[in-house]
């Protein structure tokens, strides 16, 4: 967890406190933020990509997420982890995107989201036999199918838990739901995955 220090003075060993100039404080804040971007960008991007299945849109929203975070960086008090804070911004951006698409349906009649088969093509190149690869691809396709059928909240909770490996508490903070609700959503999402896998046999 990253903790932000709000002090404007630097303590050097054995010396008196020297006031920090505004420029130096800004420089430190900028470096800190750059480190945050570098650390968390892949996760934010992955979450948005999984939610939207659109690489370009996921990139755009990732940029927007960090732009928003940068604008509000001064207001971030470190009450939650930077990752949770960024994820909350990403979730809101994603929600806004879906809402805007619903309202402005005439603007984009065509979506750039890849279809489920294409999304299922991605597998890590491990030491697997062709048969195992095929089985894994099938399983991934079924999970995608289940994810597609989930509600927005259920999908978000599922992705945060099983793709981003977040703790229930972190998910609750990022989504603004209670832990109990998060558990309920996860349970329903898993039930859907189970049904989807069972239905294929």
């Amino acid at each position: 967890m990253l903790e932000r220090k709000a002090s404007t003075k630097v303590m050097a060993a054995g010396t008196a406190l020297k006031p920090m100039t505004a420029a130096a404080a800004e420089e430190i804040a900028a470096q800190e933020f750059a480190r945050i971007v570098e650390t968390h960008r892949p996760q934010i991007f992955r979450f948005l990509l999984a939610s939207l299945r659109d690489v370009d849109l996921a990139e755009t929203l990732t940029q927007e997420c960090f732009l928003k975070a940068h604008r509000n960086w001064e207001g971030f008090r470190g009450e939650s982890s930077a990752m949770t804070w960024l994820m909350r911004i990403a979730i809101n951006l994603q929600k806004d995107h879906w809402r805007n698409r619903r309202i402005q349906f005439w603007r984009q009649t065509r979506t750039n989201s890849v279809d489920l088969d294409e999304a299922s093509e991605w597998l890590p190149s491990g030491e697997r036999s062709a048969e195992q690869q095929m089985l894994a691809r099938e399983q991934v396709a079924h999970v995608w199918q289940a994810v597609k059928g989930l509600s927005e909240r259920q999908r978000t909770v599922f992705l945060l838990r099983y793709v981003e490996e977040q703790e229930l508490k972190e998910i609750a903070e990022a989504t603004g739901l209670s832990e109990g609700t998060v558990k309920a959503h996860l349970s329903r999402a898993l039930e859907r995955v189970r049904r989807e896998l069972r239905g294929t046999r």
């Binding site: 960008r41 892949p42 991007f45 992955r46 990509l49 999984a50 690489v55 370009d56 996921a58 990139e59 999304a119 299922s120 991605w122 597998l123 890590p124 190149s125 894994a136 399983q139 991934v140 079924h142 999970v143 995608w144 994810v147 838990r161 099983y162 793709v163 490996e165 977040q166 703790e167 229930l168 996860l186 898993l190 995955v193 189970r194 896998l197």
Partner: protein, 152 residues
């Protein structure tokens, strides 16, 4: 609680499926993040659609403007015609009123101014009234004679 512990109660198939899904997402995301980026030119289809949209919008706007202008012009013309008619009607009414007034004045004048013969008759009557005297009794036979001679 670890996410893998969530799945402890699930079947092996569900566990594998979720793990494969996670691995698949990571692979896709890593590949997308490391792909070379180029500024994507706008597709011709998009440009064509935009141009068509603009053209259609312009035509519609022009149509609406023309309609509005024509409607305004028509309304102005109708108002002008109506004003002219009203003015004409008012003028006619004024003329009729003048005519009626003149006739009334003539009639009144005719009533108040008597004719020359009537004037003469009135004058003679008043003179008669002024000069006539009752005839004394002594001259009664003479007066009768005059009446008789006048009657003859």
């Amino acid at each position: 609680m670890n996410w893998e512990q969530d799945l402890a109660g699930e079947s092996r198939e569900v566990q594998q499926a979720v793990q494969n899904f996670k691995a698949s997402m990571e692979a896709w995301s890593d590949a997308a993040l490391s792909r070379p980026r180029t500024a994507a030119p706008r597709t011709a289809r998009h440009t064509w659609r935009m141009a068509a949209g603009w053209a259609l919008g312009c035509v519609m706007a022009a149509g609406v403007c023309t309609g509005a202008v024509q409607s305004l012009h028509h309304r102005q013309q109708m108002a002008r015609v109506a004003a002219q008619k009203a003015e004409q009607r008012a003028a006619e009414e004024r003329a009729a009123e003048a005519r009626e007034a003149a006739q009334e004045a003539n009639a009144k004048a005719a009533k108040t101014e008597p004719t020359a013969s009537a004037k003469d008759a009135d004058l003679l009557a008043s003179v008669d009234r002024a000069i006539s005297r009752p005839v004394p009794e002594a001259m009664e036979p003479l007066a009768q004679l005059m009446d008789d001679s006048e009657g003859q």
